[in-house]
Symmetry: C2
Subunit: 252 residues, 2 copies
């Protein structure tokens, strides 16, 4: 799509948007996946300006905020009932004004938006990203490659805040249920923790601590096929995992 067409598309959307949505409020989901021992995030490349954005949206006038974020996410991923957690509100007065500077001030999208950030963790295989009409493509981008792409508005800051929140979270909540396959090795779980924390962990310490949480079930199976000794497979103990999620891992 050329730039003229994408501009017309934006103006057309503005007219509809004024009817449907609350002004000044938007929602941005940061969906993390885990693949090849690396974290990635779901992004859309816009037709206009060809910059990348989180696959966000607006809140309908007569819709709960929670329902809005579910609707936005389902339209982009096909997933229903995803558990999302709010992690930050982005409310600088000039956070998005530059993006639509070529448009008239009456454009719905050009007004000031305060955006609510939500994150979720999902197996990338469970998600089929769908580009909406405003975007060329919606796809996973590895966190390590974010430096190389052009992210619009303050969306780099939003992703960084989501990551920071996740890092804090894993010190008191279990993590992995939605990110790992049903059966996994302790090494795979360690790689996930390392990817989230952004640092390598001592294997012995990690194995001891993660086992002490009581959220793992050792299976009567090994992962076959490697050059080394076949490692044991584990799965999460659903009940204990849910308990740990509710009560936290705090030992005060």
């Amino acid at each position: 799509m050329n730039d003229m067409d994408s501009k017309e598309q934006i103006i057309k959307r503005s007219i509809e948007a004024k009817e449907i949505y609350l002004p000044h409020i938007s929602a941005d989901p940061v969906i993390f996946g885990f693949d090849q021992n690396e974290l990635k995030v779901l992004l859309a490349k816009m037709n206009y300006r060809k910059q990348w954005l989180l696959p966000g949206g607006y809140v309908q006038k007569d819709e709960d905020l929670d329902d809005a974020i579910s609707r936005i996410l389902e339209s982009r991923t096909g997933l229903k009932n995803i558990f999302l957690e709010e992690f930050g509100v982005f409310g600088k007065k000039d956070r998005s004004e530059y993006y639509f500077e070529d448009f008239d001030d009456s454009l719905f999208q050009k007004q000031r938006f305060i955006s609510v950030g939500y994150y979720a963790l999902y197996k990338s295989s469970a998600i089929s990203p769908v580009a909406d009409e405003m975007s060329e493509i919606c796809e996973w981008v590895y966190i390590k490659n974010l430096a190389e792409i052009e992210l619009a508005m303050d969306h780099r800051e939003i992703i960084e805040k989501a990551l920071l929140t996740l890092r804090e979270k894993i010190s008191y909540k279990p993590i992995g249920y939605n990110l790992l396959p049903e059966k996994f090795t302790l090494q795979e779980l360690q790689k996930l923790y390392e990817a989230l924390l952004g640092k390598t962990l001592n294997r012995g310490n990690f194995y001891r601590k993660i086992k002490n949480l009581g959220i793992l079930k050792k299976l009567e199976e090994q992962r076959r096929g490697g050059a080394h000794k076949s490692p044991d497979l584990y799965s999460f103990d659903r009940e204990n995992y849910a308990k740990a999620l509710e009560n936290g891992l705090s030992n005060w």
Copy 2:
């Protein structure tokens, strides 16, 4: 103030508010204090309906969200540069409509508001609550007494979410710096943790764990005057406390 006068006051404020503030967005600060070994929260009793509310406010059209919450809080407490942390966004479509049901739909305050919740912890002695023109009184209410007062809109839910966030937070962040006097006993610190967690803790375990964090400095002084052996006084080690705040207490 009688109900007729308070209604007129609300209509007058609506006219000004439409000029000054963004529609649909509000901010609610949940300020916790610690006194007599109990947690308390700062609330305002409104002239209209005589119900209690968090001392919240709106966001000016040309003001960063962070600046708005600072301004709102300064006007109620006299405190500048309070560190506040966002903990939740409250966006049910009907969360506040009942409160202003006796007014015309054109009332600024009656529109749908999505409210951003912030919490802060403060020594109650540092705060001089000020009732604004809309409220009879602004004062501390003990958490244990909240069940006895009438809280308007969803403000009970907002306070509960703030408490839950605090409870999770103390498993990976130090707490107490703004809540305790400069010199305190380990027993006083334990009482604070117990008030926040809503449960009693084993003294031996607590003393051992809190000392292991490395955030305390034992002073060459004791608390005099009690019937028992004079307990040692402590203060926070500023540098280590700041480090723990930044890096978290996680031991992954």
